[in-house]
Symmetry: C2
């Protein structure tokens, strides 16, 4: 059972991406963010993606080193053409620009298109909160989610992410899909040969299903709220689609040639509203009140958004990251193909 230190995985990823043609800085950034996903417990967005990304470089979908261009800009806003560089590279640049604009003008909004998969939205929103600002990120991708009342896929899982500065031990960050579950959860059940609860997906005829395979046989994810309250997730998903698919120019999930992420980044400078110390104290007080409030029967703890990821990261930094045998064999053979011998 291969277990690795984070740095071993980062170095492996960096070597592989470099060998596949990426500039060192990009190869390292992407590897760091992938391994960060492993550390916080989101393995589906972790080192396993190295295999996919190298495949996409070979197909010409990911263009390492591609020049990101600002195609429209004013003091508070910008639109970035990512020219299909790694999504992580485009997203980091976008968030840096949004932070810069917010520092000067209270608010910054940066939209990115021609942008590959960016990974976890939280990584970028946290860049803002670490700068004492509020970070908001929404993104679309390919279609997976049916509208409330419909059976065809028309929207992506449309995640919404907020990060807020605080005095808490962990980064206070909310990162939720507007579908009942992210697609990855269904895929995990499929790979494990397990059933899923009713209410996650419908099959190709629009009927409820507990078989994860039905999602990939023409079915669809349901919007957050499910059969009874799915109009809410549908509405929020639509808002994400307009902001990240239309305002960015990246294109909507329903479009046949859609790929990658359209991403909307917003940063708000807290200091333009109140002192950052006051803001952080009030956020921390709110969280403490909630954290210490009484539990429902059957629950052991009230988890604050961002908390579980933080606890997992602490654990995995110490104990290492487990990579499934099959995944590691694929990574090793990919490395070998690229002429790299000295990976762990």
């Amino acid at each position: 059972m291969p277990i690795f230190h984070a740095n071993q995985l980062i170095n492996t990823g960096t070597k592989i991406f470099s060998a596949a043609g990426a500039p060192l800085e990009e190869a390292r950034l992407v590897s760091e963010l992938l391994v960060k996903s492993n550390l916080v417990g989101h393995d589906s967005h972790g080192i396993i993606r190295v295999i996919q990304y190298v495949g996409e470089i070979e197909k010409g979908f990911i263009k390492p080193g591609a020049r990101i261009q600002v195609i429209k800009e004013n003091s508070s806003t910008a639109i970035l053409n990512g020219d299909w560089n790694f999504g992580q590279v485009v997203a980091k640049r976008s968030m840096e620009l949004a932070i810069e604009k917010a520092k000067k003008n209270a608010i910054g909004i940066v939209c990115a298109f021609n942008c590959n998969h960016i990974g976890r939205l939280a990584d970028y929103a946290i860049m803002a909160s670490e700068n004492n600002m509020i970070g908001i990120v929404v993104a679309n991708s390919t279609k997976f989610v049916a509208p409330f009342g419909g059976k065809e896929r028309v929207l992506s899982t449309g995640p919404i992410c907020f990060a807020f500065p605080s005095n808490l031990e962990f980064p206070f960050v909310i990162d939720v899909a507007t579908s009942v579950v992210a697609e990855g959860k269904v895929r995990v059940a499929l790979h494990k040969g397990e059933k899923i609860p009713y209410g996650w997906i419908i099959d190709k005829d629009g009927n409820p299903s507990d078989n994860p395979k039905d999602l990939y046989d023409g079915g669809a994810l349901l919007p957050l709220g499910g059969d009874e309250h799915g109009h809410k997730g549908f509405g929020l998903g639509l808002a994400v689609e307009v902001l990240s698919g239309i305002l960015t120019g990246a294109g909507c999930a329903y479009e046949e040639d859609k790929r990658g992420n359209g991403v909307f980044f917003e940063v708000i400078d807290v200091e333009k509203f109140m002192s950052i110390e006051e803001f952080k104290k009030k956020v921390s007080d709110l969280i403490k009140v909630i954290k210490n409030s009484k539990l429902r029967p059957g629950f052991k703890e009230i988890l604050i958004p961002g908390e579980l990821e933080y606890l997992t990261e602490r654990k995995r930094l110490k104990e290492g990251i487990y990579v499934p045998e099959k995944t590691w064999e694929e990574i090793k053979s990919l490395a070998k193909k690229l002429g790299i011998d000295e990976i762990p």
Copy 2:
């Protein structure tokens, strides 16, 4: 069964608020927005509130004519002290200012505190979309919602609202509570003596309940997503709380002296990103694709956010607004008390 034209109700409201001490312009604005709620089918936010608002004027909670002050401002942001004028008056002023700032600087964010109940968020977000801009409104109020895993009320129902310009016949506006349902829905069931579905509320001990009375006996609403996915509604509700309760200075739902709404208004000028014609066309295309996509068994139509309200308004403008006998009697006796004789 009293049925009225919208104008009759607006005039009645205007007379009552005027007699209760409100300047004519404020009396008319509040009445128009209340009756607008009746027109679009949200009777819980409609003319019935005249009774509550006059009570709050008498208690000194609502201060008609109070001077709204900008206490902090820069080119893109402002904080407004509503001085406890009608929430509608404060909200309209806030949104006007946010639109003005967005026209000049691409984005405007205005936060309001000391603000009474503002009614439907959609009314203000639509002010932006009617100006070819994106309108975003989030608000907090008193506590009603338990955190995921908890049984105590700590958050308000924290609605999120987006309005987008389009070429559609109806205003495309998303306005959803981050709780499973709005509190009003439980109250309606209570008044009708009906049970509610499991999954909406918990009782004071944190157990699932189908009895609406349990909400008012120390129970709580559940966050959107319910027992299985409630961490999502909880997360979104937390984001609303921070933006509208903390950044505004209005105070958090959990605070014992909390009343009224804290409100966060954001406006984004589409023209800073792309031509408004292109944006509207793309939004309209998205909606048409969804509207025409295939239905699930058991559904007759895919309703787009804002559509049902529009259809209801068309119907009620023609057929009139039904006001329950008991409500109308209360309004009549209130009018009489205030020395108004000539209401319908």
